[in-house]
């Protein structure tokens, strides 16, 4: 216990730094919304065809909810403002109407059908992993990931590379704090890739928001996913299913590279395995 308290002290000081607190409470939300923009507020559009469709679906439903909200809350606030006793109104006595009940049962139903149609089409597309050009097996462990390139007979473990010191506030936190690994998953762009997801101990979940991919990694089960990335880049994610003490410390880093660069990388890997 005293050990814990001692470790706490310098941190308390840094946390209760008044300037930072004031900035956090007043300036940052405004500033961050303006500077960092949409990224910190909304789902990423992502870099695959599927992720863009999912984003559009998300925004469609969001706007439908906003419109319904404006209508319902608008009626409510109008009523709150106008139909108050202090304005001297007397209450009406109506208390039922089959017609309006039918109307507000049927209209939401139609809206739901309108939502269900694109959702179903998207889902069917997402679940079709046929005609994939290569396969990678992803295995979750407490608390790291393993990637096996099944077409090339090699694989490796991928650990968090953020230092303990920066987690414990004893060193500066880098730009990709907690979202960086020692050996990232390298995959080619413009290639339909099948991902097989499983786990070796408890249930994990492999989630990369930019690819709109999330699937549970379950011991004894193999789940299937697919992706096809358009733009080269680094995409980061995290384990999404509580898997024990270091659940928050097993990130995912995906490097999408052009196909020739990928082939060169594979050759280097297989060569080092052969040695």
């Amino acid at each position: 216990m005293p050990e814990r308290i001692r470790r706490l002290l310098p941190n308390l000081k840094s946390i209760l730094n008044l300037r930072r607190l004031a900035a956090g409470a007043i300036l940052l939300p405004v500033a961050s919304a303006a500077l960092a923009g949409w990224d910190t507020l909304n789902m990423p559009v992502g870099v695959t065809e599927v992720s863009r469709i999912v984003y559009d679906l998300h925004m469609l439903i969001f706007w439908i909810c906003v419109v319904i909200g404006i209508v319902v809350f608008g009626a409510m606030f109008y009523s709150i403002l106008m139909h108050r006793k202090s304005r001297g109104v007397t209450a009406a006595t109506f208390h039922e109407s089959t017609t309006v009940e039918v109307i507000w049962t049927v209209i939401p139903f139609i809206i739901l059908v309108a939502m269900a149609v694109p959702a179903t089409a998207t889902l069917i597309k997402m679940e079709d992993s046929g005609q994939s050009e290569m396969t990678i097996k992803i295995t979750g462990y407490q608390w790291l990931w393993r990637y096996d390139y099944l077409d090339h007979d090699f694989g490796f473990y991928s650990f968090l590379s953020t230092s303990r010191d920066s987690i414990r506030d004893r060193a500066e936190k880098g730009e990709h704090y907690l979202l960086e690994v020692d050996r990232p998953l390298v995959i080619p762009t413009n290639t339909k890739i099948r991902l097989l997801v499983t786990a070796n101990d408890v249930i994990h979940a492999w989630w990369v928001p930019d690819l709109a991919l999330k699937r549970d990694a379950i011991p004894g089960f193999i789940n299937e996913l697919w992706t096809q990335i358009d733009d080269p880049g680094v995409y980061r994610g995290q384990c999404a299913e509580l898997c024990g003490r270091d659940h928050g410390f097993m990130p995912i880093e995906v490097h999408a590279v052009p196909p020739d660069e990928y082939r060169a990388w594979v050759e280097k890997q297989t060569a080092s395995v052969a040695e």
Binding site: I61, H95, T105, P108, F109, L123, D216, G220, F221
Partner: protein, 525 residues
């Protein structure tokens, strides 16, 4: 004549005083009070756990607690708030109000009533004691998914046993409520004349009886997997870890309606009173509640869209889940229609009821978004989900409970609560609850997983806001405690009717009502 009879009854009543009164009581009001105080105590314990979580999440990095302890805080916070706060609070309200509202003397099964309450303090003492055991408290999440939960240390059997206790208590409470509603209604109180609070509780009680045994079965299988060599959920032994999730959520989804249906009843009682206008669409409210309860049994797998179900399964659970929006929408529209062209005043219960409708509806919208499977793959297990269920549970269920307490406290105690302080409590709670949970939508969409003790730097600002909000909300609740205590001790005397627009049997009794509510059954026309 009836006065003589009442005096005669009193003479024979055995009224021990002090602690013994509360231990031996079979009176529905005493037991209701016990349930409500238990909920109040657990609310502060569960709230303290939430503040441990929010303290660690105040800024990036690990500063205060070990990740394992953090996980046991999230686990226990959920178990305490669900089983120790919302469920006992609603059972307490049911105990106080159902006999008053249907014109009965007491609950149908008074001794069972005593037992179903007194199990609970022991269950929670046992649950909370696990924090001090070897290996720490349960840290696998309140959903107890294996295999992770099977890694729990000595705490596991105690957690499971305490869940069995809570389940027994809930089932006995539910049996009592059904028996009371079915058998003890005053002459003329037909089913379709019952107040909606009674209706929603009747339906909730059936849900409890249907699903608590399912949870008990599920956790018992965990117990035998851990200690008796079975492999229900162990793939290496031919079992299936996903089966636990199906069993758990077959309990878990009806459970979330157990946590919200009585709120619908509370709000449906309060709105007409302060709008001075009858509830709009009474019968459609009853049918909507029944439809929600029915649908709650066929949507469970929407909690587990990412486990890798077949396409047909995902589609079925998506459509069924979306369908729940229809009866829920009917309820919200009926509430707005009840307020429409009323003559409204805005005392504290009304404020909490209106806050409930708005913020529960926001939680309903995010629930609808979560039903859409392709988008759910992004939302699942992110802070978006945390925002969603806290919107329906805190400014949802908890606000409804507070609305109910403010609404009926003058009836229970005979004293008015301090109105100005009540309004302060409402506004502080509303501001801080939104400051806490609204930013969680943003970080969730931007990619922050739930149940993590530390997070990437881009989530820092909104987490800091949420933590500030959480402390504000927590301390605002001390005001609630203060208001309840001063109202019990005294205050401006309440009339029998208490509220100008109040209608129903409970308002025909004196405030506070006599020890045995209706010694002669009232006649309902």
């Amino acid at each position: 004549m009836s006065e003589i009879a009442a005096a005669h009854d009193d003479h024979h009543d055995y009224h021990p005083s002090g602690l013994w009164r509360w231990v031996t009581t079979t009176n529905h009001k005493d037991i209701g009070t016990l349930y409500l105080w238990l909920a109040m105590i657990m609310f502060f314990i569960g709230g303290a756990m939430a503040l441990v979580i929010r303290t660690e999440l105040f800024s990036p990095g690990l500063q205060f607690v070990d990740p394992q302890f953090f996980n046991s805080m999230t686990t226990l916070h959920a178990l305490v708030m669900i089983f120790g706060v919302v469920m006992p609070a609603f059972t307490g309200l049911a105990n106080w109000q159902i006999p008053l509202m249907v014109g009965a003397t007491d609950m149908a099964l008074p001794r069972l009533n005593n037992w179903s309450f007194w199990i609970l303090p022991f269950a929670f003492a046992m649950l909370l004691s696990t924090m001090f055991m070897d290996g720490g408290g349960p840290a696998g999440g309140w959903t107890l998914y294996p295999p992770l939960t099977l890694q729990t240390g000595n705490a596991l059997p105690f957690v499971i046993f305490s869940i069995h206790f809570m389940g027994m208590s809930s089932i006995m409470g539910a049996i009592n409520i059904i028996a009371t509603i079915v058998n003890m209604r005053a002459p003329g109180m037909h089913m379709m004349k019952m107040p909606l609070f009674v209706w929603t509780w009747l339906i909730t009680a059936f849900l409890l009886i249907a699903v608590m045994p399912v949870l008990a079965g599920g956790v018992t299988m965990l117990l035998t997997d851990k200690f008796f060599g079975t492999s229900f959920f162990n793939a290496a032994g031919g079992g299936d870890p996903v089966m636990f999730q199906h069993i758990f959520w077959f309990f878990g989804h009806p459970e979330v309606y157990i946590l919200i249906l009585p709120s619908f009843g509370v709000v449906s009682s309060i709105l007409p009173t302060f709008s001075r206008k009858p509830l709009f669409g009474y019968s459609s409210m009853v049918y909507a509640t029944a439809s929600i309860a029915f649908l709650s049994f066929v949507v469970w797998a929407h909690h587990m869209f990412t486990v890798g179900m077949p396409l047909a399964g995902e589609l079925f659970f998506m459509f069924a889940t979306m369908l729940i929006a229809v009866p829920t929408g009917v309820k919200v529209f009926n509430w707005v229609a009840t307020m429409w062209r009323g003559s409204m005043t805005f005392e504290t219960p009304m404020l909490f009821a209106i806050g409930f409708i708005i913020m529960f509806t926001i939680g309903g919208f995010s629930g609808l978004m979560l039903a859409i499977v392709p988008a759910d793959f992004q939302y699942h297990d992110s802070y978006f989900v945390v925002a969603h269920f806290h919107y329906v549970l805190v400014p949802g269920s908890i606000f409804a409970i507070m609305a109910a307490v403010y609404y009926w406290l003058p009836k229970w105690t005979g004293n008015h609560y301090p109105e100005r302080l009540g309004k302060w409590h409402f506004w502080l709670s509303t501001i801080f609850v939104n400051l806490t949970f609204f930013p969680m939508h943003f970080v969730g969409l931007a990619g922050m997983p739930r149940r993590i003790p530390d997070y990437a730097l881009q989530f820092a600002d909104y987490n800091m806001l949420a933590s500030i909000g959480a402390f504000g909300f927590g301390f605002a609740q001390l005001l609630f405690l203060y208001i309840v205590v001063v109202t019990i001790r005294g205050g401006e005397k309440a009339t029998d009717q208490v509220w100008e627009g109040a209608e129903g049997l409970e308002w025909t009794l004196p405030s506070p009502p006599p020890y045995h509510s209706f010694t002669t059954p009232p006649v309902v026309r």
